[in-house]
Symmetry: C2
Subunit: 160 residues, 2 copies
């Protein structure tokens, strides 16, 4: 967790308390032990990673292998949460927090679309992650191209 502000970054005042609570339902095992080792984005690596789901949720995995691709939600537990304007690692310029996919955000819930390679009990082999080894898992959803795939989406150059 970094505490110092980079040039151009601006903090915001978070509320004094939380509104809802999360359970960590498992852990993600990846080859990357330090943020500097992580791929720049999820398409930057073909590494097969392992999603280890806690045994209490075993039955909830029934039928998960019907999906070729999954959406994983996970918790970026090392990220600060109080920046309105930030300078992410791979951008030169300050950006609004909700205009980037950086882990730094009020609720550091990350999502990745992964290809499901196989399942062994409560362990899933997937391709398409870029997070640190040990990252807490929050949810597993089937990827539905009818609602989730929007190949026509575009990003204009940022005008800050």
């Amino acid at each position: 967790m970094r505490d110092e502000l980079r040039p151009g970054e601006r903090p915001l005042a978070l509320p004094s308390g939380f509104d809802a609570g999360l359970y960590f339902i498992g852990r993600i095992r990846t080859p990357w032990r330090d943020r500097s080792e992580c791929p720049k984005n999820a398409r930057g690596s073909d590494a097969v990673c392992t999603v280890e789901v806690e045994p209490r949720y075993a039955e909830a995995l029934t039928g998960v292998e019907a999906a070729s691709h999954l959406i994983l939600l996970y918790w970026m537990d090392r990220a600060r949460r109080d920046l309105a304007i930030q300078v992410p690692r791979h951008h030169e310029r300050p950006r609004g927090t909700f205009s980037v996919r950086s882990p730094v955000r009020p609720n550091p819930v990350a999502l990745s679309v992964v290809q499901l390679i196989g399942r062994d009990g409560t362990s899933l082999k997937v391709v398409g992650l870029d997070c640190l080894d040990g990252t807490p898992l929050l949810d597993i959803k089937p990827y539905l191209p009818s609602v989730d795939s929007r190949p026509e989406a575009m990003m204009a150059p940022p005008a800050l």
Copy 2:
């Protein structure tokens, strides 16, 4: 929140405490006041909905309109969290919780890909939601087709 189990549903034992906390960063305004009115899925309606972000996060919206599409994460606050096997409204058969997109899950974080129509201060007009009016907002991310769009994804028929 429904308490009774439908035939075929199976509960799980949730942990005794939470592992992390969430802030509600705004509210989603939709035309639907009751779950029976909601479209079956996010492609089921062309309704323009409004995302009202709390003023404390205003600056974090800087540049958000560069994206034609956004990913919204929101909190399904009326859903029970303790089902391993469930019978969702639009399925006839019991399904594993992580094999469906139902709001019923240990962490009821829903995600929708929406088209951004316009922004007026902290208010965003979007198309592509199917949630109840007043649903708490958790996060706004730009949709990046390079990592988020997987038109080749497939769902096999469930084999339960």
